[in-house]
Symmetry: C2
């Protein structure tokens, strides 16, 4: 909690734009310091998930895809948006299955980050899923095109060091995985029931 | 570079919304896999900078402020947007001075991350500025209200572990600082000329 700062006052909100994946709002706030009004734009978005997925040979299951913000191919951990009313851990299991064809046997909650609290209202939840094996083909939306790239864990962590993996949310997921691996997060894994059937669409 | 994926084709772009700090675009792309057209929204934004600033007593200079995305107070490293035609290192020095009143004597380039390549086109550059001392008052915009919080470095790194610092871009800056501190980035510092005068508005 702030020691010296007073809260801002929200005066009103209006919708600027509704897209398929988020709402852009304009909000008018009163400054506690100056008493003046200021308009800030923010983005209301669903929760996101990112999945650090390890197979039984200490490889991380990465995905390569074209990203429309930077107009470039990236190498990332699998992830995506939570569906309405879907628990983040279920989104993680589902996205892993859909984007890679893999399912795992154990899941560990690595916590969450805020993608950009200055603009976005949402969280990105992060999970470690271990014991992954390929059980089927990818289940891609028409707007997706993905290459699955199993990569030795040490090589992935080196890509963070070199900056080859530059996606901030992926870097944070790998940071939390690394903290967990070094025993600093004190987390325990849950066994996934009936793992082979998880992550398939009903 | 992708081994199996073909590039997407950009068909056209239209402006959905121009805000004070970014442009929201709708772009129509053709999928190389299905041949179908898809519309993706993206955000064109200026470069951002984040500054890991250390004073002469191994404290990190943090800022507490209200964030309008999550509607909550955060504890962050100082940072902001690059002005047009401003080199990121100059933005880092300027933002540190404006948001905290501190200037430093040595700067180290910690690299950059991509805040969200699925949506944003921009980069967030990260710098370590050492030898910081307070030289004056904050130079705040009317829309800012900031509390400066010098915090022992070990305490800051613990806040990443506990998740108390959840801002993804701040976590990445601290990740790169930590890699540097452990000797894994092999970077060297540049001395800042005339440090006491740096970061003041002309």
């Amino acid at each position: 909690m702030p020691e010296k700062l007073k809260p801002w006052t929200l005066l009103d909100q209006s919708l600027l734009q509704q897209t398929r994946i988020f709402r852009l709002n304009a909000e008018r706030w009163r400054s506690p310091r100056t008493g003046q009004e200021h308009v800030f734009t923010n983005v209301a978005a669903p929760s996101w998930v990112n999945v650090v997925a390890l197979d039984t040979q200490d490889r991380m299951i990465l995905v390569r895809q074209f990203r429309f913000g930077t107009r470039a191919f990236t190498l990332e951990v699998p992830g995506g948006m939570c569906d309405p009313n879907e628990a983040p851990v279920d989104s993680a299991i589902r996205e892993l299955r859909e984007e890679t064809g893999y399912v795992g046997t154990r899941v560990t909650d690595l916590g969450y980050c805020e993608p950009n609290p200055a603009i976005f209202d949402n969280r990105a939840y992060m999970y470690l899923i271990e014991g992954c094996e390929k059980v089927g083909d990818l289940l891609l939306d028409a707007g997706e095109d993905i290459e699955v790239v199993p990569t030795p864990v040490d090589e992935v962590m080196q890509m963070v060091v070199t900056g080859e993996i530059a996606h901030a949310l992926v870097a944070v997921a790998l940071q939390r995985f690394d903290l967990h691996r070094r025993g600093l997060l004190r987390l325990s894994a849950s066994t996934l029931p009936n793992a082979a059937k998880l992550g398939t669409k009903p």
